[in-house]
């Protein structure tokens, strides 16, 4: 069967036209890539808007995921200008690979853990050990061996004695890992039989989810959100300016509104 050449060329031409379209580049503006932990997305969207309003020559591209995924992406591609992690471990990971601009790293924020469930859940958690005895189907955490929110939660549960082992051993059979802390939150919101452990800041924007138990800051693991500039990028001065903005008192007001704690109260002045 002979196929006319026209039928052969048409789809190929269409395909190449499609390939030319995506990823339009702002040739006259500076593009900065900000990789930030999933829990920071609301605060970062607001800060990005404010920053771009003040600096019209800069375009910010935001990438949110678990801090572990972002660190891996930066390590293999160096595709970010500024990295804002939810824990020190993943910043250390990049530091050891010498991917950070020396002296640019600083710890900015803190957070707290909270046990959550769907609003209509009848489960009561008065003390942490209630997690071992309460009636629920699954405990959703961000991947506990990699994502900061999950690691903090695991660390917290491992520190509480329960029967012959720890609370972590007791809840392990019900564990469901999620890709990042917002995915964990979404999983909890989807089914009333699930509990989850997320950040208290995640509750600020959440719908249909309530806090069952707030882990007191002095009993929970120390949560630190460091930010740093990535080395070897084409716009180091702009990246430095962005990092300075993320540390500014203006930014502090935004973080506080989204439920984060400040590590350096002097910044508020």
């Amino acid at each position: 069967m002979r196929v006319s050449l026209w039928r052969l060329w048409c789809p190929l031409v269409l395909a190449s036209l499609l390939c030319a379209a995506p990823g339009c580049h702002h040739h006259d503006k500076t593009e900065l890539r900000l990789f930030a932990a999933a829990s920071l997305q609301d605060a970062m969207h607001e800060l990005a808007r404010r920053y771009q309003a003040k600096h019209p020559d800069v375009v910010l591209e935001l990438n949110f995921a678990g801090s572990n995924a972002l660190a891996r992406q930066i390590a293999s591609s160096r595709g970010a200008d500024v990295y804002f992690s939810a824990d020190e471990k993943w910043m250390d990971y990049l530091d050891k690979k010498k991917l950070l601009v020396p002296g640019s790293r600083r710890s900015l924020l803190t957070n707290a853990l909270v046990v959550v469930a769907r609003t209509e859940s009848q489960v009561k958690i008065v003390r942490p050990v209630d997690l071992a005895t309460a009636h629920y189907q699954h405990l959703v955490l961000a991947q506990p061996d990699a994502v900061p929110a999950g690691r903090y939660a695991k660390h917290y549960l491992e520190g509480i004695r329960y029967q012959d082992g720890t609370l972590w051993d007791a809840v392990n059979p019900k564990l469901v890992p999620a890709l990042d802390v917002r995915a964990a939150l979404a999983a909890v919101a989807a089914d009333p039989r699930r509990l989850g452990i997320v950040y208290s800041s995640d509750l600020v924007q959440s719908q249909g989810v309530k806090a069952l138990y707030r882990v007191p800051v002095d009993q929970g693991p120390p949560i630190r959100y460091p930010a740093a500039q990535i080395a070897g990028r084409s716009h180091p001065r702009d990246a430095k300016a962005l990092l300075a903005y993320l540390e500014s008192p203006d930014a502090a007001a935004v973080y506080k509104r989204w439920g984060f704690g400040m590590l350096h109260p002097e910044a508020e002045k």
Partner: protein
């Protein structure tokens, strides 16, 4: 995370269960599509092909919405819990849906390769419909059917998008080989990721080898070289 051996065993179990689940229905649907015309045939053909052309995550999301607590097959609607989400059974369902089009299409081609006159001849000799199918059609289409099942099995082995959404990534229970590689990479454990990768490559080689070996043998099991 579970050790590679457990992950491999779980992966094989889930993929095998998926293929066993769809084998009979897929063969029957394929025969129907190969031999019969009926009203709505193109709709059936489209539905069969849909998981092949949809992104796996779309299929996963569709299954999730259907099986969710307040979904059409959820605990609230049915009155009892199918208990498929976040379980190995859910992983089987997700894998079987993704493998379905491959098995049906390959089986259909196999049936279309069987001369319908042979079936008519059997009928004139007094064979019933079922007997004809089992004693004439199936043996002649057997190699193609087997290739289709192995193809579907390989697809089920590598399933990621739909599985992770429906069954989650629970180590030892629903974390198949592809999910384990992803998690190991995400957690910054390249050694583990590489070990799992080699297991996946080995599995792939075995699957392809068997399919090639099946296609080299001539009809009625005689090797082509003997003819």
């Amino acid at each position: 995370m579970a050790d590679p051996g457990t992950t491999l065993l779980l992966t094989l179990q889930i993929a095998s269960s998926a293929i066993l689940l769809i084998a009979v229905p897929a063969v029957l649907v394929a025969y129907l599509l190969a031999r019969r015309s009926f009203f709505g045939k193109s709709v059936v053909e489209t539905l069969v092909a849909l998981p092949l052309v949809l992104p796996p995550t779309a299929v996963g999301y569709l299954l999730l919405s259907t099986l969710a607590v307040d979904g059409p097959l959820g605990a609230q609607t049915l009155g009892f819990d199918l208990d498929l989400l976040l379980t190995w059974k859910g992983a089987v369902i997700a894998s079987s849906v993704m493998a379905w089009p491959l098995v049906v299409r390959t089986a259909r081609v196999a049936f279309e390769g069987v001369d319908p006159r042979l079936e008519s001849m059997a009928r004139t000799l007094g064979f019933g419909v079922g007997e004809t199918f089992v004693r004439i059609t199936l043996p002649l289409a057997a190699r193609g059917l087997l290739a289709g099942l192995i193809l579907g099995f390989s697809r089920a082995l590598g399933e990621f998008g739909a599985t992770v959404i429906v069954a989650g990534n629970i180590s030892g229970k629903t974390q198949t080989l592809s999910l384990a590689i992803f998690s190991a990479e995400q957690a910054g454990r390249p050694g583990e990721a590489r070990a799992l990768l080699w297991i996946a490559v080995a599995l792939g080689f075995v699957a392809v080898f068997i399919v090639e070996w099946l296609s080299r043998r001539g009809p009625r099991g005689k090797a082509r070289a003997q003819r």
